[in-house]
Symmetry: none
DNA sequence: GTGGTCTAGACCACT
DNA sequence: GTGGTCTAGACCACG
C-alpha cells in the first residue's frame, strides 16, 4: 500500500488515508477480499499515531468500504466496479491542475514543471523499488 | 466571483476559498488590479462568518497573491514571488507528488501522466488566452 | 519565557509576541528544538485570549520560525529561510530605514549610526555566546 | 519634516506620525514655536488620507505637544528639554536591534547588514537632497 | 463602508 | 491536553 500523507496540507490525516484507500479500490489497486495493513503496521510506516489510523479504518468501515474481522484484520468489502479509464484520468488531471495553478502563482513555466515531473517520477520509482526490496510483512 | 464551498469536505473553508481564488487568477478569470468582493459581501454570499473570509484574504495577502489597502478593499497583486527558487519548486513538487500517488493508485503509468500534463498545460494556456481576447467589460 | 505585553502601545498584541519570540531566538534564549509554552499556558500568563496567542504562533509558523506538531505543541525550528535573497534584504532594509529616520530625528550622523551598529553587533554576539557557554538546564 | 510611514508595519499610521513628531521635538529637530505642515500638505506628501493626518494632529494636541491656532496652523508647544546624547543613542540602538534580530532570522550576516546600512545611508542622503532641492512650500 | 484585532466559546484532529 | 477552525460580535484604523 502506497499511502502518502501531507502533514502540511491542512486536510485531516485520517481523511487523506480514507481517500487514498478508496482511490486504490476504485483504481483496481486493491480488490475485494484484500487485507489492509494492521493499524500498527500502517501507523509505524506513516509515522503517525495509531489512533489516527484506527480513526481512518473506522470511517472506512462505517462507509462499508472495508470489513473488520476480529483477530484477522481489515478486508476490502465487495468492491464497486473499477472506474473507467476516462474517470481515472480525470482524477489525476484534477490534481495536476492544482499543481499547475500553484506553478503559475510562483512563476514557474511549463518547462520547469515538466522537469519537476520527471524528477518526481524518478524519485517515486526509487521509493517504490526500495519498498519492494524491503522484507514484506 | 463563483466560489463554491463544500461544507462537508473536511478541508478548511478558508483554504477552499484561497485555492479557488488562486485558480481564478491562474485561469485569467481574475487579473492583476481586479478587486475582490468585500469580506462582508462574500461572507453573506457564501453564508459563512466574515472572519472566515478575512482569514482567507489574509492568507492570500501573506502569499502576495492579493494586496489589501485599508479602507479600500483587496486587489489582485502584480507582485513577483518572494520565495526562493527552491522553495517555489518544493511547493509545486509536493502537489505533483499528490497527482503521482493518485496516478499510481488508479494504475496510470508515467507516459499517461506526461500526456495528461501536456493536455492540462494546453487547456490552461487556452483558458487564459480566451479571456484576454474577450471584450473587457 | 519572559514576554511582556504593552496593552496601550497601539501595536497589535500578537505582533508584540512574534517580535519578542524572534528576539529570544536571535539572542540565544531559545534554541532550535526548544518547545514554546502552550497556547493556553501563555494566554493565561499574559491574560489575553488564547486566540491571540494562536494567531502569534501561526504567524511564527508561517515565517518558519517555529514548527508546530499537532497534539504536541510548537517548537523552535531549525529550518533555513525560504525567502529569496532580495526579499530577505528588503525586510532588513526596511527596519534599518526606521532606525535611520530615528537617527536623523535625534540628530545623529552616519558615523554615529555606524558605531552604534558595531556596538549592537558585538552585544548580540556576546549574548548568544554567553548562553551557549552557560550550563544547560 | 522627514516623516516616513511603513504601511505594512501593522502599527497605525497616525501613531507613526505622532511618534515621529515627538521624536523630532525630543531630538531637537523641531523647536518650540515651529510650525508643522498643514494637514493637506502632509497628507499629499505622505500619500495618505487627510483624516489620518488630522487624527495624528488631534492626538498631539490632546497630549499638549502642539497647539493649533485657528487659521494659522499647528505649532510646537513649549518643548521639553532635549534628550541627552546617550538617550538619543539608546533610541536608535533599540531600532537597530530590531533590524539585527530580523537579519538573524533571515540568515544575513554582519557584513551583509553593514553593506545594507551603507546602501540605505546613500539612499536617504539622496532622498534628502531631492527634498531640499524641491521648491519649499 | 473597508479590512484588522481582540474576546469568548464551541467543536475537531491529533498524541 | 495539544493546536486548528469556525462562529458571534465588539471596537479600531483608514478612505
Amino acid at each position: 500500500m502506497y499511502i502518502r500523507l501531507d502533514q502540511s496540507s491542512g486536510s485531516p490525516l485520517y481523511l487523506q488515508i480514507v481517500d487514498q484507500v478508496k482511490t486504490m479500490i476504485a483504481g483496481g489497486a486493491l480488490r475485494a477480499g484484500d487485507r489492509l495493513p494492521t493499524v500498527r503496521e500502517l501507523a509505524s510506516e506513516l509515522v503517525v499515531n495509531p489512533n489516527t489510523i484506527a480513526h481512518a479504518y473506522q470511517q472506512l468501515e462505517r462507509e462499508r468500504v472495508v470489513e473488520t474481522r476480529r483477530g484477522l484484520g481489515s478486508f476490502v468489502s465487495a468492491a464497486e466496479p473499477v472506474l473507467s479509464l476516462s474517470a481515472r484520468r480525470d482524477r489525476v488531471a484534477a490534481l495536476l491542475d492544482r499543481a499547475l495553478v500553484e506553478a503559475h502563482h510562483v512563476d514557474l513555466d511549463a518547462d520547469e514543471v515538466r522537469m519537476l515531473l520527471e524528477e518526481r517520477l524518478l524519485e517515486m520509482a526509487n521509493a517504490e523499488q526500495s519498498i519492494e526490496l524491503a522484507p514484506s510483512k
